[in-house]
Symmetry: none
Subunit: 87 residues, 2 copies
DNA sequence: TAAGATTTGTTCGTATGTATA
DNA sequence: ATATACATACGAACAAATCTT
């Protein structure tokens, strides 16, 4: 996730998105449990808050997670996922 | 942005940090006593909670204060300060 | 025992500024 | 000009520890 590496064919936020999506689908982050906080994800991936939020916003639009203000961002169980809008 | 604006020399949190550090070193806030609460510092300086916390976190890393959950943030006496890491 | 107040700790939500490609 | 990405800074709510009533 370092910016000084040779031109990646994916942006930083896309790479983080793919990784989190993979973890959710593999249930590394389990249904009804929170994913790590924005601050923790910032530190783990070494990216800025805005970048993490962009990723979480897309995961939320995809119906994979649901953010709850002041509490955390929770993994939505498969059964409860609406039709993905695939934006 | 149509015009160029000069960047401030110091950020808000740096200014508050300098002021609190000065007060501790001048013993306006005395050793083993608590500094004002986060809420009081917010109001005095007119800044947000997150900004105050950023300042207190750095003062703690510097070994000047020690936060105690549910109680307050206490000034560490000089004799008890470890070597400052000077981050 | 219970309830409330105060305080530190943590989290999401939002906006702005700066720099770069 | 637009999108990406960083840092700063605001607000709001939730949570847990401590103390008092």
């Amino acid at each position: 996730m370092t910016r000084w590496e040779p031109a990646p064919d994916q942006t930083v936020w896309e790479q983080v998105y793919d990784e989190l999506r993979t973890r959710i689908e593999a249930e590394v982050y389990k249904p009804r449990n929170p994913v790590p906080s924005i601050t923790q994800l910032e530190q783990e991936f070494g990216v800025a808050r805005g970048t993490v939020r962009k990723v979480l916003a897309k995961l939320a639009r995809d119906g994979l997670v649901r953010p709850i203000s002041g509490k955390g961002t929770y993994v939505v169980p498969r059964e409860e996922r609406g039709e993905s809008v695939d934006s």
